[in-house]
């Protein structure tokens, strides 16, 4: 039986980056859905992705708020969330601490990672 493609939700407002991660994930055999702001993200979360890549700085609803809502909803709280952002740092940091305490599995700084390393991390978690 062919395993069903895992679905990754990319919540990211920068279209170029969305495309970049989407391409890479698709190439690596993932199904990708996207959301370009926090509000849309909350809609798409309901589709039940296997993993969420969550940006922090976004229009309408910021990433921390989105994370809080995902984790407070029984239907979605078990979906692993990797915060993929350009604020804060990967070593000890307030933003990182906040994200982890809200239930994120990891905190990755976009500029420090290549699409490959992000996908590698995604694979590790799934």
């Amino acid at each position: 039986m062919v395993a069903l493609k895992k679905t990754v939700l990319i919540i990211e407002d920068d279209e170029i980056l969305v495309e970049m991660y989407k391409e890479k994930l698709k190439n690596e055999g993932f199904r990708v859905i996207t959301a370009k702001d926090g509000k849309i993200a909350l809609q798409r979360v309901k589709e039940g992705p296997d993993l969420i890549l969550l940006d922090i700085l976004m229009p309408s609803l910021n990433g921390f708020e989105v994370l809080k809502r995902i984790k407070s909803d029984l239907d979605t709280k078990n979906i692993p969330v990797i915060v993929l952002t350009n604020v804060g740092s990967e070593s000890v940091d307030n933003d990182k601490n906040l994200a982890l305490s809200l239930g994120a599995v990891d905190y990755m700084v976009k500029s420090l990672n290549t699409p490959e390393s992000v996908v590698t991390r995604v694979k590790e978690i799934l």
Binding site: M20, E23, N86, S89, S91, V92, S111
Partner: protein, 725 residues
């Protein structure tokens, strides 16, 4: 008043004009003089030899009942020191004495009596040189008495009766009669002792000298004015030592010239010294100053260092330098118009005086200097645009400057002597005094500190102030000094700068992510294969992007350090593994230059932030790679150092010049050399590394030799619960 010839003292002078100047021509003696006299010559008509211009000396010779009237020329300008001017190598006094011996067969001895107080009014009003009449021979038992004054030319004899017929004042006549008939007995006054023969040693009044020194010392205590004291010193010394003049010269600020600050002489006509200023080494006083030794000259004749003054009357000199702690202060110069052997007592007295005066002068100079300095400092402290508050050990305010007044609205009069804590209670703990009080309450813990705080000024403004507190003194004695200034503007600027850097760097991250991400995908073949050249170009583009990413990260890290926002995740960790990981991450880079990296270590555990430690090692090793030439070697060694683990990173690089060793940990510092240009970098790496090391409780330093290599050392605290072997 009749105009009388200045020379012959006869009336009848005529004013004439020669080349625009006024002169007085005498109808009688035909002399021309720039002045006229207002007094007739006394005795002129009594002369047997024609013109007796002035009688200045009287000798009484009782045996023959004659008075010797000594005739002499008038020296109207000769107001100089007693002893007179020098003619043919001798003073008039000496000349007269010689004449007395040669012509009259009288051998003059010490003067025994002075008549000048009586006689000067009618016999010699013309000048100091004639004021004093000395009784040289007052041996009434032998019926011989001779009065001579200091300047006489020749003598005539008169009996008492003949003298009484002369034009003498009744007072003079009375005195002469009394002396002649031995009714008048006059003690020889102190002042006249010095007039006498050469080589005399008169008794020196030590008691008087001690009194004088005491007097002068007291004057220094009671009088602030140095000149006044010097004035007293010269005048009193003159009296005590009975010399012709006394001067005190003080070394000027150029340390080359001495200036006479006080001058006294025994006639009051000329108050100007011959040399108001002289250089060290110049003349006798200058020599005394130079050699710092007393110079005593009993006769200036043939003395090579003596410089003759205008009056030319100085015959003997005693110069005593004033020395304090080996430092020249000035010179006391005592001069006389007779040949004089300065006695031991005189020299001793003057030496004591010199040392007393020297110390007093030096003290008063130091006092004046410190007063001046204090005044300056006081006004600086008061007016500086920075708050200055000084609190003593009891917590009482002793300095409260203008700026402190402005910020708190509390006047220094209200603050001084008040307890800082009481003031704080009165004004509320949220203001400056509150902070001061807080500091004082915690002063044992906070000896020196700096803090920044927001306070409310009296005008209701919220401002940031930076306060420095330091303790000056030692245990049980000293003051707390608090300085503070308004740093609101600095804070605003700093915040604005940090905000800007923060925004800019975060904004840079997103496009960099895209560039880096797509480049990496291209290189990974996500968009198909590339030829070798294309791959090479992509590699360069990727590496450059990585550098940019690194720069942004460094800037962010520095910002965090500056804002004190760095947080550490402290834990026990395997530092050897961290070091190995760091090296692994850089192996690729080292390979490019064919540099080998070796790790030497046993099993070691440290206590710190593993990520942070990794970052530090990577930073230093990365640097080592940059500054090591191709085919070099880098040794990373970890050692158990007791309380901590010592990490050393040794390269075979170009080395760091001595002067740059300290600076190298500063921000944006890169040592200038050809490799550093090639190496690139932000100049932030070591600055960050140093801060990170310190944050973990370690130290960082380096040893370096140019063209041999550099070794960086840093320490990390050893693990708390895992014992390292």
């Amino acid at each position: 008043m009749d105009k009388v010839c200045f020379k012959c003292k006869k009336p009848g002078v005529e004013k004439i004009n020669i080349e625009g100047k006024e002169y007085y021509s005498c109808n009688y003696c035909k002399s021309i003089s720039p002045r006229f006299s207002d007094e007739k010559a006394i005795f002129s008509e009594t002369s047997k030899k024609g013109i007796v211009q002035h009688a200045v000396a009287v000798t009484i010779l009782e045996k023959d009942k004659k008075i010797l009237l000594i005739k002499r020329r008038v020296w109207p300008f000769c107001y100089a020191l007693p002893g007179g001017h020098i003619e043919n190598g001798e003073t008039p006094l000496e000349a007269q004495k010689r004449e007395m011996i040669e012509e009259l067969g009288i051998i003059p001895e010490k003067p025994k009596l002075v008549l000048h107080t009586i006689l000067e009014n009618d016999l010699c009003r013309h000048g100091a040189a004639w004021h004093e009449w000395f009784l040289y021979k007052c041996d009434m038992d032998k019926n011989r008495s001779i009065f001579v004054n200091s300047e006489a030319e020749s003598a005539d004899w008169f009996s008492l009766e003949e003298a009484m017929r002369l034009n003498l004042s009744s007072a003079t006549k009375t005195v002469l009669t009394e002396v002649y008939t031995q009714k008048r007995h006059v003690d020889c006054p102190e002042k006249l002792k010095r007039f006498g023969t050469k080589n005399q040693n008169l008794a020196f009044d030590e008691e008087k000298m001690s009194e004088l020194i005491f007097h002068i010392s007291n004057a220094f205590l009671s009088l602030r004015n140095t000149n006044q004291v010097l004035e007293i010193a010269t005048n009193e010394t003159l009296k005590a030592i009975n010399s012709a003049s006394v001067s005190i010269a003080i070394l000027k600020e150029d340390y080359k010239t001495l200036e006479i600050k006080a001058y006294a002489r025994n006639d009051k006509l000329n108050n100007q010294p011959d040399f108001p200023e002289f250089k060290i080494g110049q003349g006798v006083a200058g020599q005394a100053a130079q050699t710092k030794k007393i110079i005593s000259i009993s006769d200036v004749k043939n003395n090579s260092i003596f410089i003759k003054g205008k009056s030319g009357r100085t015959k003997s000199l005693l110069c005593i330098p004033m020395i304090v702690n080996g430092k020249l202060i000035g010179v006391i110069d005592v001069a006389d118009t007779v040949v004089r052997n300065w006695t031991e007592e005189e020299v001793r007295f003057l030496s004591i005086l010199a040392s007393q005066l020297g110390i007093a002068l030096e003290n008063s100079r130091l006092f004046a200097e410190s007063e001046k300095e204090k005044d300056l400092l006081d006004s600086v402290v008061k007016n500086i645009q920075e708050g200055v508050v000084v609190v003593d050990l009891k917590g009482r305010v002793i300095v409260w400057n203008k700026y402190a007044e402005e910020i708190t609205g509390l006047k220094s009069e209200e603050a001084n002597n008040q307890s800082g804590i009481k003031l704080a209670k009165k004004l509320g703990f949220n203001d400056l005094i509150g902070i001061i009080s807080e500091a004082l309450l915690n002063r044992d813990r906070l000896k020196d500190f700096y803090l920044e705080k927001r306070i409310l000024t009296v005008s209701g403004q919220q401002i940031w102030i930076g306060i420095n507190m330091s303790f000056i003194g030692d245990q049980g004695n000293g003051n707390y000094i608090l300085t503070f200034r308004n740093i609101s503007r600095d804070r605003e600027l700093l915040q604005a700068k940090n905000d800007l850097v923060s925004t800019a760097t975060h904004e840079l991250r997103t496009p960099l992510t895209a560039v880096k991400g797509y480049l990496s995908m291209l290189r990974n073949g996500d968009a198909g294969e590339f030829n070798k050249k294309q791959e090479k170009y992509l590699g360069h583009a990727y590496q450059s992007t990585e550098r940019l990413v690194g720069l942004v990260e460094s800037l962010l890290k520095t910002l965090k350090i500056d804002e004190n926002k760095v947080q550490l995740n402290l834990q026990n960790f395997d530092i050897v593994k961290i070091a190995a990981d760091s090296i692994e991450n850089l192996k690729h880079k080292a390979k490019g230059k064919n540099i080998s990296i070796h790790l030497k270590s046993g099993k070691l555990f440290a206590f710190g932030d593993p990520d942070n430690t990794k970052h530090i090692i990577e930073n230093i090793v990365d640097n080592a790679i940059k500054y090591t030439k191709n085919n070099g070697k880098i040794d990373v060694t970890l050692k158990n150092n007791g309380d901590n683990i010592l990490v050393s990173i040794k390269d075979t690089g170009i080395g760091i010049p001595q002067g740059a060793k300290e600076r190298i940990f500063d921000r944006f510092i890169r040592v200038n050399n050809p490799l550093s240009v090639k190496a690139g970098g932000t100049g932030l790496g070591l600055h960050i590394a140093k801060n990170m090391v310190q944050k973990q409780g370690g130290k960082i330093w380096l040893e370096s030799k140019l063209n041999v290599g550099t070794t960086f050392y840093f320490t990390v605290p050893a693990s708390i619960n895992i014992t390292n072997n």
